[in-house]
Subunit: 384 residues, 2 copies
Amino acid sequence: MRQNGKISSEKQETFLPKLICASSDESADILYASGFHAPDEFLYFETEQRRGIVVSPLEYSRACAEAKEGVEVIDRSALMRECGTDRPFLPFFSRRLGVPRWCVPERFPLKTAIELSDAGIEVICVKAPFFPARECKTREEIAAIAKSVRATEEMMRLLHAMLAESKVNAQGCLELAGRVVTCERLRAEIEGNFKRMGYTASRTIIACGVQSAAPHNIGSGPVRAGEVLVADIFPRSDATGYWGDMTRTFLKGRAPKHVLRAYRAVRKASETALGMIRAGVAASEVHIAAAKTMEELGFRTGRKRGGMPCGFIHGLGHGVGLEIHEGPRVSPLNTRPLRRGNVVSVEPGLYDPDWGGIRLEDLVAVTGTGCRNFNTMEKELEIP
Amino acid sequence: MRQNGKISSEKQETFLPKLICASSDESADILYASGFHAPDEFLYFETEQRRGIVVSPLEYSRACAEAKEGVEVIDRSALMRECGTDRPFLPFFSRRLGVPRWCVPERFPLKTAIELSDAGIEVICVKAPFFPARECKTREEIAAIAKSVRATEEMMRLLHAMLAESKVNAQGCLELAGRVVTCERLRAEIEGNFKRMGYTASRTIIACGVQSAAPHNIGSGPVRAGEVLVADIFPRSDATGYWGDMTRTFLKGRAPKHVLRAYRAVRKASETALGMIRAGVAASEVHIAAAKTMEELGFRTGRKRGGMPCGFIHGLGHGVGLEIHEGPRVSPLNTRPLRRGNVVSVEPGLYDPDWGGIRLEDLVAVTGTGCRNFNTMEKELEIP
């Protein structure tokens, strides 16, 4: 009788072979481990003796040129020929490697797990993060992120310049070069320029007025003077895969008093958080301190009429690297201490369905004594 | 004793509830079923009575506005509060829906499958396609794809114009506006313009000379006169999620005889394939006919020195829709008949490590009597 392999989720104790099956668009882990960018699914394996990837014959020569040092490249078609094309080759390949059990990530495809298990190979689903080392960036990774942030700031300054050059028309809308300025036009300008610089940005948030009260609303329609405009820009480098992430809030003309008060509270929360980040401080403490700063300035978090959330309605920050959202989270739920090399966003915000939102986001690397802020751009609300 | 739910892969016979757990970037199925674009993971469920999505509170209002008619939107945080945040809410939610077993797609995350199974809920991994209807496009889907192809052709014509306007310098390289024309520059120009038009294109293939012998080499460095340039352009509409996909091969100046012969063979294969596509014809037959056309013109498929693949080294085409590569494949392995509403690429090619590749790709919709070619651009190699 064939003995089926167990499928389970448990903690790994000693070294266990690792397996990932994904495209590098889906899985930052496979990109991190292999160094190979590919839009189609491929395989990464790691045993005590060997590390490698199994790729389609169409990708073979490119993979040889691009994969990290120490990563073998194997042509899938050759393996499949040896295994026989009518059955899954992964159990065959596992046996050849002498692997009776694989550790796989949380998002490992169920079908492949069943194929392995049916062939008597154990599959252990490892609790994220799959590569805990990814949360602490190396010098090279920090350099790549710093570069992505520089590109992000360049586009944020371009946006600022476009808003500064705009005139306000009789309807209170912004106009530039004789055309009304819309969120769509600003987004297209920014994303188009990014492509020319070797970055891909999508769903860039350029939200104005009440739209910006929903942090994920990307924004649409004309930009009006006297209303907030939240710009959250997060491009990914086509070359390195590392993201930038930055938010500023602007307002053309003079801001109403209640908006200015909220802006100052958010900026103060940002300063509080940036001032206390260093290796050893619990991530949750930083969030709580930022929240408290805004509360003490009169901004409570809760719900308004119709149940709309209001106040500081999201976590203070998140890790950024090969994923735009990765560990460590900076939220009340993550009580673990920050570590040297963590790269996290610091993005306090205040939201009110009556007029919109304010968010200010910098990206920092945690050091032993504080943090290195990748951002240099000032935080000023009003644009004359 | 707790009875664990079975995890298995079997064919579905009668109606069974469906479950997907993915972001719309990872899963075209969840986008297809829900109509909701979201970069972060959410949940889609379908029972005999109900269809809906479960989204984060940050996405709730946007999801209500954007989800397809008939798709309920549920706030995950509300569910989690009821369930208790310390345990997975999906088993709780399944029980509330009265669902003892879910059908899930091949790439369903293993961790979630284990959570369900551990709670006694059966998980059945369905062989792809998860929604077979996706392979036959509706009138609205065809209109969306036609629009993406129009945008693609616009950029292909821009590329053609840039090559036409270029001068050849003393080193045999192309120059435009006083600067050497590189693959990177052409790619950046195309991808930047796409962003302004509301499309996202990445890894656009602009490969010249021997680079183009590897179909997935995206190309780099200066463009030289007298060498082939393969341009494979595939943008995705930010608004609809539907892709365009198109390839042309150009050569600045006069083409060597062997290249011209190969070009004509590929064009002939394209005509052969386009002439026989209609509902009812086996996909494999179309591939085989195209391959035979090129073989009869003297182009055999095999390997050259060093094992480099040579000739017609890939399938003739693939389905295009919410995924750039989806069913039905047009390859020798897919003997199923094409069906009305299939949208497939027709992309014969010839590759030779000695000088590069030729590929010509149109996108067509299969009809009862033939096919509708979305492309209108001529197929001419030489650019004076």
